[in-house]
Amino acid sequence: MKREPVKYALLVAVALLAPLYFSGGYLMNVLVFVGINTLLVVALNLLLGFAGQISLGHAGFFGLGAYISAILTATHQVNPWLVMLIAALAVSALAFLIGFPVLKLKGHYLAMATLGLGIIIYIFFNEAVDITGGPSGFSGVPNLSIGALVFDDDVKNYYLVWSFTLVVILLAVNLSRSRIGRALRAIHDSEVAARVMGVNVRLLKVQIFALSAFISALAGSLYAHVMTFVAPASFGFHFSVELVTMVIIGGLGSVYGSLLGAALLTLLPEMLRAFQDYDIIIYGLILILATMFMPGGLVRGIPAVLAAILPKKQERG
């Protein structure tokens, strides 16, 4: 029972102290993106891991958050924090409306529909040149600031992003251990039984889709302000697939697994740079091995591996 607060406190401590070791280095910058990706993976995991509903369009929600923040703050000088809230609300409202027809679909059909949604949004970023700047992107996004504190370097951005990430992780853990979390997992296991138990399956799926889009848009806004530049290429189909991969590698239905999945798949390409042309092959191999030997994801696989490697103390006594 008491393990949860300890786990979370440890995570907070590690997150707060990490810059002491990495600041100044290139990794600091990567860790900012680990934070952003963790937000996205937690968001997608609520939908995919808990409720069992796939989305291949989450890069689109992420992109919408980024573009709304970029455009409203750069060209219209609206307060960035306000825009961040507006963007998240608008994107989740959009997801809510789209969710009703789309989440009626199941399995491959749901995958196709959300894929289509992501592609439409991506095409919009590319083609609406007047608004979005088209394929070459949109620059001049201001950094976020609080009073005199401007989030303009890696360490500051790290703390900015990770305060969001840590709060979202806490809220997601709470949610997963509540009647809503159980209802979501119930939908995953047996939709018909969940309905008989009084769960409004249709509404709850749409609500969680909207919540997931809310968090994704938030991540998008942060991304825009951290990068000060957005371009369609970051929000394409392949990023949606990467997010799904992170959820699965980390562990379906595990919030902490989301963090592991995001961290591994964000750090790995950086670490594999040394292998130059072979990096993509090694990356692929690691994914294959991870799914083969850790079918429950890192969050269940790592403890199992540790238990197998570490000497068992009980056996002596």
């Binding site: 509540s178 009647r179 995953h188 296991d189 008989v196 769960v199």
Partner: protein
Amino acid sequence: MLAIRGITQVFGGLTALDDVTFTINRNDITGVIGPNGAGKTTLFNIISGIYTPTAGTISLDDRNITRLPPEKLATRGMVRTFQNIELFGQMTVLENVMVGLHTKSRCGIVSCAFKFPWQISEERRIRDSAQVWLQFCGIEELAGTTAANLPFGKGRLLEIARALAQEPQIIFMDEPAAGLNGRETLELALLIRKIRDRGITVVLVEHDMELVMDVCDRILVLNLGRKLAEGTPREIQENPAVIAAYLGEG
């Protein structure tokens, strides 16, 4: 209490139920029997809102509930178990029953995410009453087991515990004794009576004639989608049409 009037269900060219009319009395244990394919499960699927019938109406206490979906019926105190067990396999036994308390709790996404004080006390209440229903069904020692790992008989009991947690006024059980051994079936009979003694109306589909004749107050016999007979266990046992159908089946 529950009036079934002229229920007909057609699947493509197949008439699974043909103009079935029947009334279920409050606080009775009612049995629905009939050979395989008679339409018993289909009748349960219609009553529980999973199918919409081709024709006919269902009313609960004189209120029409024919087109209500299962989640609405749950709030009106109607619940069921499934012939092919439908547990939440990845969740623990206790969590399964906690889902059964969904209609008895209120907290939404926001209160759950922020763990507001009233959410914490509600969660405690959900956990405590789930424990009580596990005890009621005699599976409290399995609370922490993952539901998918339960032996078959315990799975059936868990389905019942989860359904009872809703504190329904009426529970429908589709073949609760299927796959149970002799001792488990006897315990089930006791449990069914215990449920009725709490003021819950029980309707069960069952093939085990000994069980049905033993616990039921009234029986509906279906054959090839039609109502063949209804009455007390004794009347049914002596009904020539029923005897013919069952002997004819071999």
